[in-house]
Symmetry: C3
């Protein structure tokens, strides 16, 4: 693990250091810290752990300074500080450049000398891999794919032709980016004729894409995932969607084709968004909610689930659903 | 790109050509076409693009012929025509037969000489691969698998033992076809004892199967996907299901074991169909709808979602759900 | 196929054998059995098949003994007996130890001499593979992974660092075990800062994990799947979940982070469970049901779906949903 001074950590966190020259070399929980560790205290329920903590340096709120007499960095949000420092230490960890002899790279590719390429990788022609890119084993990458610096592609991922991926992204195992969208036209015999899918996918910087998530390539234009978007596992994003900055999408969500999701939205697990809709900035969609029309007003929260009931109560509810259409007429 | 005469395209489309001897060699949108292109005009909103379009040949409706004075093919549905021609050009593109030296093929296999086999493929014994089959890199194929002519298997796919796949199919990255069905019997200690899954999967011609979709093998008999069925990404199809001709299934759908889906059904995204049900022909199931019993009448549309509400309104709705069971008694 | 005497099968099943010295060597359905087969009769509807069945040995209920005059084993539950014997024969089938020359194994690994390792496998350092472990082709395994005896890992699976898997487990194609959990903290500019995910996944014995299912590693502690849990395809299990013994989870289920599911629960397809909840033992959750708060009482069944309606009826229902919030006030 690399060294870091309390001074540089405090600057990174916009915090105040009591002992700027102190040096630490790892980040630990309150219970596993030693004298070389930086730890953090955020939750009052852990006050007893704080008392016996062995950390050399503690990150905490100024108002909690009575609870810890050792070297400190004071910040507003110690939990966020923990995340920032953990990522900082991770980056400082030495990157070991390596290209496995079985990693196949197509013609006319530009590969930075400092990349990690695992075994049984198949990259087609005209690839462009930036500095400190990591590609784990058994990954399949199409033609004309560019991947920005420090991006990590985990194992079993497929990246389709012409996909562009920015810097500092992470794509988790089994994700498939840039597969054909689901577009068909029906002929007179009821057969489905495929509409060519000739767009691709553009992913900006700092995007995470979860395991077994699928993102379709555009039909004519591109599917676009903007900077800072975070997508969990098993999410499906249809062709020509645009997901704007810093929107976060939990597991099992489905977004149908050509939907446009605003910035800073929070989409709960297993929510579904139909195609060709627009969702305003800062919208929150509850887990399991089906969005069937565009949302214009910013900053609102929407929900559609039916609360669960003990099964015998539910049977009564279900029996009464059809009677609902008469409520308004009869009750007055 | 290959050449095609206006005459042969008109025959393909059941249309009328104004200049049968004209030859084109690519299909393009209105804005990117050149004098060697065939383009199409379907949407009145694009009339301005049509005016400045450089295409050598235009596909359009007869009633729009005043808007385009150049060489034309008149058809009923220009959008469908676009799809048909795009697929026609794609097929004419030269197929390059290739077998990567790392592609492993089991004993007693019959492999057509004109196939494409990418790197790090693992095919077990008794395979039968037809003419112009494409198998991309990192694919795993079990024993006794047959794959019909012109079928494309994309990367990271798994095909289980004894699976039969027809011609002109396309299976997208990460799909798993012919994995064990989910069948258990519980013993007296509450342990689940697995029921052997010894059927397989039979896929007819012209079937598309989306990325990360899973199709279970049958318990005793086969799971069957009939001709022309199109299945999107992240769909789960249980053991012993039968999906009949030209049914189309959108993303994130789940179909439990032994369900039989009729011909020409349209199943919306994230819909769920319970096991052992029959769904009549031409049924439309709305996105997110849970089908809990068989549908007998053909050609109907069914829906079950609860409309989404702004969250504070939803809280009132949720609080009243349990009162519903008293509606009928009290309101009269 | 291996031999088995009627006596040893009867002991395995806690049943009674009429001809203990009789030997069979395969298990078959009523219609395909021959004189070396053991078959089973459970369903009265198959009585005609029983009459012409050629099996050398029949497993059936004592009360059905009038329907079959040949050698018999009498048991309480012939269907369960069928499953037990099928697994017994499967185990007896000779295991052929094999390590493909392309299977890469990291330093300091301990690999039992009787394992099957397919092609294009990538196992990192410090692996520990027990007796009779099978790993199919194109599998990626991280550092410090242990896999217990007789466990089968199918193709295209990813196993992350430090994951521990017990004995007699089966992990189906495309599953990803031990990928990073979905944890972020938001900074003042609305950017999401990743919380390090440094726990792992511990899987006990006799666990099945379906195709394209994802199980996240814990944030600090481990995600835990206890003995006998069976998980179907396309399931998502978030970080720090604990799934207790013999719980069975059908396809397309999502369980958010830190949920604790009791023993012997049955979770229907596409059900969703929110994070940080506890579900009591023996709970049944209906398919498609969203669980939004903890369930304390054991042994109950819960449901939340809205029954599906023919679409025009549903439109009336949907229009009346908002009126529900006034029901209680107005109807009396």
């Amino acid at each position: 693990m690399p060294n870091a001074s309390s001074k540089e950590l405090a600057e990174l966190l916009n915090g105040t250091s009591t002992d700027p020259h102190l040096v630490v070399n790892n980040i630990s929980s309150l219970t596993s810290a030693n004298s070389s560790s930086v730890s953090f205290y955020s939750d009052k329920k852990l006050k007893n752990q704080l008392k016996t903590c062995q950390a050399g340096l503690m990150i905490l709120r100024k108002e909690d300074s009575n609870d810890w007499k050792g070297p400190s960095i004071f910040v507003k949000d110690p939990y966020l500080a923990f995340a920032i420092i953990a990522n900082f230490f991770k980056k400082r960890t030495d990157f070991i450049a390596y290209q496995d002899s079985t990693a196949l790279i197509g013609n006319n590719s530009i590969i930075d000398k400092d990349v990690y390429l695992g075994p049984y990788i198949n990259i087609k022609e005209n690839a462009n891999l930036g500095k400190l890119v990591t590609i784990e084993g058994n990954v399949s990458i199409g033609s004309n794919v560019s991947i920005g610096s420090e991006t990590i592609i985990h194992s079993q991922v497929t990246i389709g032709d012409n996909v562009q991926i920015g810097s500092n992204c992470e794509i988790f195992p089994g994700a498939a980016i840039g597969v054909d969208g689901f577009g068909y036209s029906q002929d007179e015999k009821n057969s489905w004729i495929k509409i060519p899918q000739i767009g691709s996918v553009v992913i900006y910087d700092n995007v995470d894409i979860g395991s077994n998530t699928t993102i379709d390539r555009g039909a004519l234009d591109n599917t676009i995932i903007k900077s800072g978007v975070k997508i969990d596992n098993q999410v499906q994003i249809g062709h020509n969607c645009i997901i704007n900055e810093n929107t976060i999408i939990a597991g099992c969500v489905g977004i149908a084709g050509s939907a446009v999701i605003g910035k800073n939205c929070k989409i709960g697990g297993a929510a579904m968004i139909l195609g060709h809709l627009s969702i305003a900035e800062n919208t929150t969609i509850s887990p399991g909610t089906m969005i069937t029309k565009s949302i214009i007003q910013e900053g609102m929260k929407y929900t559609s689930i039916t609360p669960f009931l003990e099964h015998r109560e539910w049977l009564k509810f279900a029996a009464n659903i059809k009677k609902l259409d008469g409520i308004d007429d009869k009750k007055n």
